[in-house]
Amino acid sequence: MRTNFSTSDKIFDYVNYALLTLLMIVTLYPFLNTLAISFNDAKDSIRGGIYLWPREWSLDNYRYVLSEKSIYNATVISILRTVIGTVVTVFCSAMVAYAISRQDFVLRKFVTVAFILTMYINGGLIPNFLLIRDLNLLDSFWVYILPGIIGVFNLIIIRSFIDGLPESILESARIDGAGDYRTFFSIVLPLCVPVLATVALFSGVFQWNSWFDVFLYNSSTIELSTLQYELQKILQNSNASMTQKTAGDAFAGAMQNQGQVTPTAVRATMTIVASVPIIMVYPFLQKYFVKGMMVGGVKG
């Protein structure tokens, strides 16, 4: 399309590519480093000095982590909570966002403020726990979904996108006699795909990474455990000899306890195991952020 590059444009490009390449190097390093440690012999890793490449190749860390049978069921639960949780929160947040983007909505201000305030209020851990208990949500899958039906952050982001939509589109829909439902479902939702993809990514990653709610509410129900929580357990297990600082008595056991894995190696391995699946989702969502995708359909 653009054929005539000016000199300053070219300079800009060079600087830009250089900067971005530098950024890539800096941000790729931690991941490569973690990868290298995860594939390095755990005992050898104690010596330090592993940077981009394993020194003594070993699959033992993965063997150790993946031999834990509980993680397979936990992965299924993680996927379920991620998918269901994300779909529910994106849909519900979008719906409320649409309502509060309507300037004439009678409850607009009330609803907006009621939601925003909760971002900064927290009743505390124990009251929340008691609430979940009283709702009979302990040891149930729904405790992963229900408390997060609407993410206020997501809600606000979606609303500001809807606010940014050309008024003319909504106006013409209204003139066509479309009610709120139809406007929402057939006009607003499709137009908001980029932001919905963004919000889906945010809440998907959040759901995938959560383990604190498992710890609080579902820790004694192994069937509902999630991948992250099981990985935390494995990490803890590898830590065994370290945490038993209770008198010398534990020591004789502790010495024998020190197997082939170390917390550092397990942590690196679990980082890879837990993050690769969710990272792989990214390219699928990414296309929605690519500029210009939807604007063609708008024809403002």
């Binding site: 950024l23 719906m95 009621a114 971002m119 505390g124 500001s160 940014g164 709120d180 963004t198």
Partner: protein
């Protein structure tokens, strides 16, 4: 370009003498919107407002095992413990400084990166940069802090480079110098989250009408001018809304990086409210102190939020509510 303001000037319900009747009429007309929100208001009330009874805990010597009636009431004792501690001001200063740095650096770098990415014409490169830059977000702080410590240690790469270029004469204990801590903290945050934070701006940029760029090009605007006059205004409302929300979070600077990178030598700069509460509250089984601190933060958040929102309103920018 003026979308935001446009959105603000649409139909307000007309004032009428019988307001209530008017209100009901409106409700009837907007039954669809009510159906879309009221269930969630109920949800909101149950899940977010009901647990606020927990604030009473701040005024008790709370023991989880006791019923509400059996708790020992101590008035403002926990608040006093918090505010009267000689470290409180320092801890508050650190909190504000670190989240302030985070706020400014976080916004500037994420927006800058989004702008730069937006200018990349090679789609594959753009995608690769974007994907890679968000990888550190998936590394836990424990691992990330380990890498930071390694990088900044006397035999780490930073010292090595500085020595090689003759910029310093002997190794610097970066993490042992309190004054450096905020900078290290801010840089670490940017490094870890810049790619992640960029996503929302990139999404916002997809909403900009390409016709605007074409028009600008015809007018002979350069790349930087286009960025400044088209892209940036195009995402302004998102920026402003995010900014207001984050200003409300100024007392929340997190605790993991501070805790993990903190040590006895930089404690005067690394310890923030959350760490203080962790040490004297949760670690001692004192739930009341953490609730008291939480209440304090909430109050401050409300004030900041209100102020920020009002300023935005005065400036005619997008608002949070």
């Amino acid at each position: 370009m003026e979308k935001v303001e446009v959105a603000e000037t649409v139909h307000y319900p007309k004032k009428s003498p019988n307001k209530f009747l008017q209100f009901l009429k409106q409700c009837g007309k907007q039954h669809a919107l009510l159906v879309m929100t009221i269930p969630f208001l109920i949800w909101l009330f149950i899940f977010k407002y009901l647990p606020i009874w927990g604030w009473t805990i701040a005024f008790q010597n709370y023991r989880p095992s006791k019923s509400f009636a059996e708790q020992e009431w101590v008035g403002f004792q926990h608040f006093a413990f918090l505010f009267e501690d000689e470290r409180f001001l320092r801890v508050l200063r650190n909190t504000l400084a670190m989240s302030g740095i985070n706020l400014v650096l976080g916004f500037v770098t994420a927006i800058a990166l989004a702008l730069l990415l937006n200018e990349v014409r090679v789609v594959v490169f753009k995608r690769v940069v974007q994907t890679i830059s968000y990888l550190p977000h998936f590394i836990s702080w424990v691992v990330a802090a380990g890498i930071v410590q390694q990088t900044l240690s006397p035999d780490g790469i930073i010292n090595e480079l500085l020595l090689r270029f003759g910029l310093i004469k002997e190794d610097i204990l970066f993490l042992g110098i309190g004054e450096y801590f905020w900078g290290i903290f801010g840089a670490a945050h940017v490094w870890k989250d810049v790619g992640w934070n960029t996503i929302v701006y990139l999404a916002a940029m997809t909403m900009i009408d390409p016709a605007q760029y074409e028009a600008a090009e015809i007018d002979g605007a350069g790349r930087i001018q286009r960025m400044w006059h088209i892209t940036l205004p195009g995402i302004k409302s998102v920026i402003v809304v995010l900014l207001i929300m984050n200003i409300g979070y100024l007392l929340e600077s997190g605790f993991e990086p501070q805790y993990l990178l903190g040590n006895g030598m930089n404690v005067d700069y690394s310890e923030n409210i959350d760490i203080f509460v962790l040490k004297y509250g949760i670690a001692q089984g004192n739930f009341s102190l953490s609730i008291a601190a939480g209440m304090f933060k909430t109050v401050v958040s409300f004030i900041l939020l209100f102020a920020a929102n009002n300023i935005a309103k005065r400036l005619g920018e997008a608002r949070l509510y």
